[in-house]
Symmetry: C2
Subunit: 510 residues, 2 copies
């Protein structure tokens, strides 16, 4: 079977045939007509990835003062083998993402099955039927060379295609709300011109009815408050003109918890796009700063985490100070500084470099090498040394492996011919790393381990008792604490049991 899309649980779904698509188009027309008759506005969400699928559910969940849905939402996912399965899965009321947030299954069931105002489709045709398109196309930065983020770029090809398709389909009065984190300048220099081009081809007078484009960025966090992090949080937005701005404001006011978190309007989409990339750069640079001080602290007997706690007492001026760790992962801090730097040099053709930003990313991307150096201060030669890595996701108590620093750690340990075993209770598959096998039972990685790396702060690891670890290991491994996951008492206990312990930023234990 060629046209099959396989879900993570192994279940296979046939990608629709042309005949099925024709039927789907009729269905889309019928549903949309019915929903308009109910007084609802029609929204499409383009891209049902990590943000898009939950954003679609949040939009569908929005109610007016009478408790009735304001919108009907068509979630749109391209019919690729990799992702088509999301369409039939969502249409049974099941979320296409795993999450520890109990609101995720609830909101999908409630909107898809009960209220019946959220439905997924793979038909592009849907965009011609809607009042608002929320663009949640995935967009990444490419960093062709490890530790050289200055060479990073943004491949806009798929994004441009997605926007062009909108230009070919949407009604002239449809608002295109870009929610994807994009290089600053994208709405003005990419989205609007493409829509204008396609409108003009369709004979639409863009002087009379210029395309309506706005930008607003979410600040989603995976984990136990996944849905809430999209709905109940500060939002920044801007439109390319007055009408776009007003439509965007109205839409966000309807959809988000603006009573507790009022909207922040900026003057231009450039400003809104810049804000998103700057706020993540701010964090990336702060983390990078902590690494050099962690190294210093390690060598002069200081616990940098206690120093950090002391500094952070100064609320409002010093409490954003972040912590050193194995490294920086996830989808935002690793790429947003690169998007901004690339935009400056390419979209705006300006001289120079966002130097602190790029330097910060380079320090963060190469940060896992510091943990390897820590191991080597105790075991200089790693060939055939059995190393157990506890944690491969990028965040504690979450199974998200996107740009996880554990990947860099494993890759470089493999270059030293170490025998690396990985464990993570939240991760079933690790698609980003070749030849990876993530154990879910800690007893599969600890026996015989000469080094145990506490890489991620999952609660399970924080609760491990030293005696228990050593019993399973059957050895007295080197214990490496990547980000203050072990208390001083626990470290003392490991030492009492005969282990050597090292930690990022933990000079006081040497």
């Amino acid at each position: 079977m060629l046209n099959v899309s396989q879900a993570p649980d192994g279940k296979k779904y046939n990608i629709p045939t042309e005949e099925e698509n024709a039927l789907e188009r009729e269905e889309l027309i019928k549903i949309t007509k019915e929903q308009r008759a109910l007084g609802r506005k029609i929204v499409a969400v383009q891209g049902l990835g990590f943000v898009g699928c939950v954003m679609a559910a949040v939009v569908a969940d929005a109610e007016n003062e009478k408790g009735e849905p304001i919108y009907f939402v068509h979630g749109h996912q391209r019919p690729s083998k990799r992702s088509y399965w999301k369409v039939p899965v969502i249409n049974t009321g099941v979320p296409p993402v795993a999450s520890s947030d109990p609101e995720v299954p609830q909101i999908f069931h409630s909107t898809v099955v009960e209220k019946k105002n959220f439905r997924a489709t793979s038909e592009d045709f849907v965009y011609g039927l809607v009042d608002v398109v929320v663009v949640d196309i995935q967009l990444d930065a490419t960093k062709p060379s490890f530790g050289e983020a200055e060479k990073g770029y943004c491949d806009l090809l798929a994004f441009r295609e997605g926007i062009r398709m909108l230009g070919q389909q949407i009604r002239p009065d449809c608002l295109v709300l870009v929610e994807t984190t994009v290089p600053p300048g994208t709405c003005e220099k990419v989205v609007k011109p493409i829509l204008e081009e396609e409108f003009t081809k369709r004979g639409i007078d863009i002087k009379e009815t210029p395309p309506l484009v706005a930008h607003s960025y979410e600040r989603v966090m995976p984990g136990a408050k996944y849905v809430s992090s999209i709905r109940d949080f500060w939002r920044v937005f801007a439109g390319v003109d007055e009408k776009s701005t007003e439509l965007c404001r109205e839409f966000l006011n309807n959809v988000l918890n603006v009573k507790e978190f009022p909207l922040t309007q900026l003057d231009s989409t450039n400003a809104s796009e810049l804000a998103k990339t700057m706020e993540n750069t701010y964090r990336a640079v702060n983390i990078a700063l902590t690494l050099e001080w962690a190294r210093f602290a390690e060598q002069i007997g200081v616990d940098l985490f206690k120093v950090r706690d002391a500094i952070r007492k100064r609320k409002g001026t010093h409490d954003n100070l972040l912590r050193p760790s194995l490294g920086v992962g996830g989808y935002c801090l690793t790429k947003d500084p690169v998007l901004a730097n690339w935009a400056m040099q390419t979209l705006f053709e300006l001289d120079g470099c966002l130097d602190m930003a790029i330097r910060g990313v380079n320090i963060n991307d190469t940060m896992p090498l510091h943990t390897i150096n820590l191991i080597k201060t105790v075991i200089p030669e790693l060939k055939d040394v059995k190393i157990a890595i506890l944690g491969v996701s990028y965040l504690e108590n979450v199974g998200d492996t996107r740009h996880s620093p554990s990947k860099t750690l494993v890759e470089f340990l493999r270059k030293d011919f170490a025998k690396v075993l990985t464990h993570d209770p939240y991760v079933e598959a690790w698609p980003e790393l070749e030849d990876s096998h993530v154990e879910s039972d800690i007893r599969a990685v600890l026996p015989g381990a000469e080094v145990v790396v506490f890489a991620v702060g999952h609660d399970q690891y924080k609760n491990l008792q030293p005696q228990e670890v050593l019993d399973i290991c059957g050895t007295k491994p080197l214990i490496v604490d990547c980000s203050d996951f072990l208390s001083d008492e626990r470290i003392a206990e490991y030492k009492r049991l005969g282990c050597v312990v090292r930690g990022v930023g933990k000079g006081h234990i040497v």
Copy 2:
């Protein structure tokens, strides 16, 4: 008269003769005896500079539960021509520093004149009489090459001499509490060894009675809450051993507002010293980051200050984000990263560099050149151009000129042969800049100005009406706003009146 010390108000004071010093020593013995009889402990504060003089008053102001002073304080200032005048001035109950904080004259009058438990002296002999010495010796970083903080160093000569003198004088059970911001490692690697050396020379058994040394740093801010910023704020401390730690804790508990701001104890003086330099480095690096984004914003039509406001809505994670400006001044952010880097390389002889820290300082030190570049985008040739600089202090509504970025601004404008006039309502003299004359009347600098630079956010400048400025100028000058001191409405008004306006990080006005 050779041995005369002149106060800033012009009044001259004779530096004591040997005969007078002999009498002073008797007086010190007598006073100390009387004060001990009252049940008070005796404290000396070494160095009556910006921190030391107010710290001395705060210590004297400390009371027990019965409302009685806990300590008698000898403030000590070396009898140099530059600073001796502070001794007689303080002894009349007058503070040796100008401040907008009304508590400053109050606390000096109250402790020196009313409670009579604070007295200044220039006699080293005093250190032999006390239970605690608070070290507030000035200590600066030297940056021999502009924009190359990596070459910066710390000249510890005078500091070492001050500590050696303590070692020759103090009782073996006297606590030496270092409050000066020092390069990390100073207490362990400089202070303690010198005291041990001098104790040993005096026949004191340092095994039996090792010198008692602790470190605790203030977080003083000049301005309207000067005294409170020393007393009512978070304090970090650490001692070189258990006894030093306990004595330090007891002293700080007596002196500071620890009910509202409990003390934070760290494990070692290395940690406490590192914390101080790291917290200032954190801010310095954050400011440096904003400059590159300000430049970007300027070129793509974005108001970076509105972007900053949007980002800072995220309290606790993003609200420490600082703002771009003319540059970074003052005594802490400009030198502390250099002290730490120098300590790492010199006191600890470690490889590497605190790269983000040093890069941050370099960006900040050279930041005023960006304002000159902004001027040059409108007026490329500055020879003979009359430029009025509004503000030469480093902080709004304060007259403190230490390391003010206006100094760099003026120096480089002079290199371009511009005619520079400076104004500041809070600054009488500008000792750091040669051939400087700071006007206190704005009418002395504006007439004929072709460029008006709003360099510092003094309220007086923020209140200036555009029409008023232009009336005094008699020109339509280029208006340069260095850090969002002018509202959009005011900028529009300047433009309406025929001025060109530019601003750091203010791309939306171009």
